[in-house]
Point group: C2
Chain length 232, copies 2
């Protein structure tokens, strides 16, 4: 397994909170997103994330931005676009939902991992962390590999837990890709080659959920580097 | 409670899968997103969603597009941008993760709702549905209200489950906002005004998770209209 710095693995995918989060609402038309990016560029903004919430008759676009020179001037410029009616400052998604732990696999095991992860996330969130736990129960190697690969496309993803009885082949290739993106991978102790490619292998699903959350929580004393490659 | 068509409530937030999903990778620089929107606009594309996966030294941007006249010509135009190295067609996030059921509240109850929802999602996903279950254990009225409000900003969100012992005040206002966006709201039977504003109130947390998934699954025979406002 490639060596990697645990601090990077934990902090990079989730990243720091952006400077400015804006919800821009109004009518919709083609080219609206292009015109908004022009305004952002003109005000020196770097786009951290963008979410299109409504489109068609009405539009609602949520921007997370960095390096904006004059936020009020940018807000005025966005308000000046023909179809825009309101621009509001909001908390960023990172501030609200924080780091994401994603559990993929079969329903029975996914549910138990969720119990462990949610309970542990609750304990850390009470102390000021923000960790959310997401699950997708799924069947079939192809679907599984696609879901694992897509974890790298989820914003704020910090850890992936694989919860099943048999995973290998293209799922293992997808695990390598996700790890290369700096996302921590925890696997249940199962048949197939996936456990050999995970950062951590845990037999009990509740314990796997707890350890996954501990590994990404800044409020936990748990250093993945010290247990990487071990089986519990 | 305002009347609403159940079909809208279930299908609109998740919406149909987009025509084309592209992962564009390469170097990064200011104005890159603006130049990509220019290419998309030139090829008549309507942006369904956009996700910025990497930024800084390298860039990776995931586009979901509709109405693109000539996808190959658009891909060539994106490949023609100075810092872009590769453009790949991928399955859309909707095809992979599908509709989202989001559970917000206290750790103990959130975990039990997740058990019910994940087990039920597994049964439907086996039959061709795609439903994922997400949770954020959270404390404090302000944090809770922000998390509830932000559900309307999550792509593919179809149902919100509120899992706690006491919720009201600004959380209830946020529930009304989320419902106005067409997202179904299920509440546990709890103290506070939230249950009075939910589409459905369920006492047992496992049952609440199961019903939430049934309500959004196209493969389930469960019509929310027939039980709206009831307590189970």
């Amino acid at each position: 397994m490639p060596g990697r710095d645990s601090t990077d693995a934990v902090n990079e995918p989730a990243g720091p909170a952006p400077q400015l989060a804006l919800l821009v609402e109004g009518g919709d038309r083609k080219g609206l997103l292009h015109d908004m990016t022009a305004a952002i560029l003109l005000h020196d903004g770097d786009v951290h994330s963008v979410e299109i919430l409504e489109r068609g008759e009405r539009s609602a676009i949520f921007w997370e931005l960095d390096q904006v020179g004059d936020p009020d001037a940018l807000i005025a410029a966005l308000e000046g676009l023909d179809v825009v009616t309101t621009v509001r400052r909001l908390p960023s998604m990172f501030q609200i939902y924080g780091k994401r732990v994603i559990v993929v696999g079969a329903g029975a095991q996914v549910g138990q991992v969720a119990i462990g992860a949610v309970g542990e996330a609750d304990r850390h969130n009470i102390r000021g962390e923000k960790i959310s736990v997401e699950t997708i129960p799924i069947v079939g190697e192809e679907n599984l590999a696609a879901a694992v690969r897509a974890v790298a496309r989820l914003p704020r993803a910090a850890c992936l837990v694989l919860a099943g009885a048999l995973m290998g082949g293209t799922v293992t290739e997808a695990v390598d890709e996700v790890r290369a993106r700096g996302i921590l991978v925890v696997s249940l102790n199962m048949a197939g080659s996936v456990p050999d490619h995970a950062d951590l292998v845990v037999t009990d699903p509740i314990q796997a959920g707890v350890m996954a959350v501990m590994a990404v929580a800044a409020t936990a004393r748990f250093d993945v580097e010290r247990v990487r490659g071990r089986r519990f």
